[in-house]
Structures are given as structure tokens and as C-alpha cells.
Amino acid sequence: MDLPKIEIPALRADGTTQRSVVPVGERASVLIVDDTPAKLVALAAIVSGMALEIVTATSGEQALRQLLKRDFAVILLDVNMPTMDGFETATLIRSRPRSEHTPIIFVTAEAHSEAKHIRGYTLGAVDFIYSPIIPEILRAKVRVFVDLFYLQRQVLLHNEHLESLVAQRTAALTEEITERKSAEAALQQELVRHQETARELFDARVWLAETDRQEAVGRLAAGVAHEVKNPLAIIRLGIDYLSKEFARESTQGAVLGKVQQAIMRADSIITDLMQFSRQKSLARHPTQINAVVDNAINLVSHEITVRNIDIVRSYDDSMPPILADPDQLAQVFVNLLSNAAQAIGQGGRIEVVTRSIHLSERDLERDETGTFRIGERVIAAEIRDNGSGVSPDNQKKLFEPFFTTKPIGEGTGLGLAVSRNIVIMHEGSINISNRPEGGASALLMFPVAVEG
């Protein structure tokens, strides 16, 4: 930062200042006011060697006229003048804002008049000088004010310079801040875009990996199924053959019976595994979920009747359709209804509720796949039972393949895993949790079919 150099004049012991202030800009002017031309000339002569612009006036009126034209570093003002004396002139000088602070040195012969001194000071006189004038004293007094004038001008320039620097800097900073803010906003956008891209990439990779995995598992399962089914066929026929040779009541007969059951179990696991691992292409079309649930209820009606369970349907009949493969989706409800029936055991109640909802935050807690957003409209189907519920330990494992709570031979542990896959392929969510009033609730949510 370039600031004009300021040199502070050092005061000398005699009260004069060292000639050290460098004049800045135009030369300083001095106004000498006296009604006596001879005195004017004498005063001018005294200050003539001080590199000053000297302006003279022979009356107060003339002095005021000069003050209209320019600023003075100092005014030498004779106190005793006809028509308008020095004090009156000073009063008028002071009344103008521009010359309000211009230093005035009163020139007077009456050295010891207290009253005049006081009056002079109240008029803003800065100094007095008494006749007969001693040139050195006058010059020293004038010098002080001239130096002051230059210093003030320097400070002023300095201030202006500083102000302009501050203004420049402020402008630059404002610009910088604006730029920075827009850069930040751009960065933020970029970041959001990157995050989105990263998420999409991640999803795509997960999807690819999942697809790869499913394909591999599908091929493997198909191969295994084919290879296992042949030996199972041999064993089954062999056992059946042997069974005819033994009476049912004998131990041998019982053993063979167990083997037959084991074969059936192995076969159903292979079949379920195939079903689970195969990537089925869904035949989805706009479907009323109520019809799908009705179909599923029919399919499990035997089990429901045998177990003496009441089914209560609470349907919303005015719901928009969902995009679904009705057969596949029915399989999901069959699994859930069958699980509910088994959790109840004998005698109980299953309530099936369908409704169209706008998702609240609480609903979202049951969207474990993170499929939906708050406020989104979904079709929900809930199966509530008053059975034994789900233990906290089992909660996490419910959808794991081969997890089952059923007695050996009654479940393959693939029902819910298959169901979950089917629901995900329908872009839906599935959640099973305990109801506060006891029993479990299975909640399925699906997006509304988009028209067109």
C-alpha cells in the first residue's frame, strides 16, 4: 500500500517548527487584512520570503470576497478597522462553513486589553500578534499555520487515498466473496451430482453383481436339481419297492417310511431352491391387489379351515391398480397367510387390510428396502395375525434363505426369501414386525401403477 509520507514537524524550543513539512499541491495562501495600505505592505513584506501566495484586503468586506474565491492557510486580521472591525469580520468568516476553521491571527496594538483578548478567543481566534510587530515572531506564527495547512492537506489526501483503497479492497472483497459464493454453490452442485452419479454407479454395480450372482446361482441350482433329482428318483423307487416287502408295522417298514419322508423333504427343498434362484421374468400388468389377495386366500383355504381360523377382509375397494404379476404376487400372499396360520396354530384370526396411503415418516420405518419417499402414494396390504409373533432374534433372519422356525420337514425356509425377491421385483417393500397388541403384521407396499 502506497501512502504519502507524512513528516511530523518537530517543535523547537522557541516554539517555531523546523522547516520540515513538504508543501503538497498548490502553495498555501495567506490573507492579510488591514485598512492601512502601509501596514499591509509591511506585513506582506515580512511573510514574502515564505513561499506563500499573499493576498491582501483593505477591509472586512474585501476579505470576505477573497474568502469566497479560495481557502487560506491563515488570515492576518487587523482588529481596528472602520465600518467593520476585525472582530466583526472574524464573526462573518466563522459563520461560513468553509472558513469556519481557518486560523485567524489578530493584529492589534492594544497588547494588554483582556477584554479584547477574550472577545477574540470567543470568535475563534487562534493567536494574537501585537504592534510593533517583530518579523521573526510573525513569521514563526504564520509558519505554524502554514505547516498545519499542509499537514491537513496531506492527511486529507492520505484519507482520500485510504478511503479509495478501502473502497477498492471492499469492492474486490465483495467480488471475491460473490465469486467464492458462486464457486461454492457450483461446487455444491457438482458434489451433489457426483454423489448421485456415485450412488447410481453403486446401485448399478450392486445390481450387476446381484444379477451375476443370481444367474450363477440359477445355473448352479438348475444343474444341481437335475443331478439330484435322478438319484432321488432311484432312491424313491427303490424304497417303494422294498416297502412292499415289509409289513408297515415292522421296524424295517418304519425305517423305510422315514426314508420316504426324507426323500420328499429333499425333493421339496430342491424345488424351492430352483424357484428361489431362478430369475423369473414377471408378466406385470395393472392389477387390483384385492383380487390377488382373494386368490391367495382361496389357495390357503384348506389350511385356514383345518386350523379353525377366521379371515377378516378389510379392503379399500377404490384403489388404483399396481403393476404386478398376479400369479407371482399371489405366491407371496400364500406364503404370508400360511405363515400366519402356522403362527396361530389352532383357532385364531387373520385380518387382511388393503389401503391406499400417502407415506408418513412412521410408515417409512417399515420400508426396509428404502424404496419409497415421504408423501409418496403407495398401495399397502397388511396381514395381521394374533399368533405367536416374531422373536427379536428371528426378526433379522426372517428373509434369509433356509431360515425357518417350523419343525423339520414342514418348511424349507425359502418361503419368505422367495416372497421378498418377488416383492422387490415389483419395486415394493415387505416388512414383518410384531403388533403392540400381540401377533405379527406383514406389511407390503407397492407403487401405484403409472398410467399410459
Binding site: 435322478n230 432321488l232 428318483a233 432312491i235 423307487l237 417303494d240 419297492y241 424357484q275
Partner: protein
């Protein structure tokens, strides 16, 4: 006279077990063949009333054998049923597409079921 059944499958143990099961009824005479390419020849020799035919065999598919049987005026009268390790409804549909809508038996089938099926088929 006993009705004749030819069982064609690449698994000797399975064909043997099917033979035992069917012969246990005392109503059938059963011959087995484990080489698909020899199935036609065996049919010509044995002149069965029914052939149980595995769908997936090395060398020749069950459906190809069936095609040849149907083309041959001498063998056209022979009934046949497919054996398959298919597991799901889609498999069934795909398989029946492959085998021209013919009936099939899903492995592993039980003895009772197999005999009932064969009896029904032969009485048609």
C-alpha cells in the same frame, strides 16, 4: 399277455429301478435302454406298447426320439411318456413345448404313482 414297456434313460440305476417297480406288479414286461441313439433300434426289436423316455440325454434328446417314432409307420402306434427332472410350472410349460404337448412324469416319482400313470396311459 403282459404289456411291454421300454424305459429309455441314460441312468442305468434308474432304468433298473423302474423296471423292478413295474415288474413288481406282475403285469408288465420291461426292457431298458441307456443309450439314446439305440432307443429306436430297441423299439423296433422289442415292439413295446409304451416307452418311458427321458427328456435330457447325451447324444439325443427324448423329443428327437419321439419325433422319429412318430414318423416311422411301423412304430407310430407306440405310446410314449416323458421322464423329466423339471421342477416348476414354467419348466413344465417349456418342457411341454419341447415335447410337443406330450405328457410327462416328474422325477422323483413314487412307485404307486408311476404304476397308476402307466396303467392309465396304456388303457387310453
Amino acid at each position: 399277455m403282459k404289456q411291454r414297456i421300454l424305459v429309455v434313460d441314460d441312468e442305468p440305476e434308474l432304468t433298473w429301478m423302474i423296471k423292478l417297480t413295474l415288474e413288481q406288479t406282475g403285469r408288465y414286461e420291461v426292457r431298458t435302454e441307456n443309450l439314446a441313439i439305440k432307443a429306436i433300434e430297441a423299439a423296433r426289436e422289442f415292439k413295446p406298447d409304451l416307452i418311458l423316455l427321458d427328456v435330457l440325454m447325451p447324444g439325443m434328446l427324448g423329443s428327437e426320439i419321439a419325433e422319429q417314432l412318430e414318423k416311422d409307420p411301423e412304430l407310430r402306434a407306440i405310446k410314449f411318456v416323458f421322464l423329466t427332472a423339471v421342477v416348476s410350472k414354467e419348466d413344465v410349460q417349456r418342457a411341454s413345448g419341447q415335447i410337443g404337448g406330450h405328457e410327462f412324469i416328474a422325477k422323483p416319482i413314487g412307485a404307486e404313482e408311476l404304476c397308476r400313470f402307466v396303467e392309465k396311459k396304456l388303457s387310453q
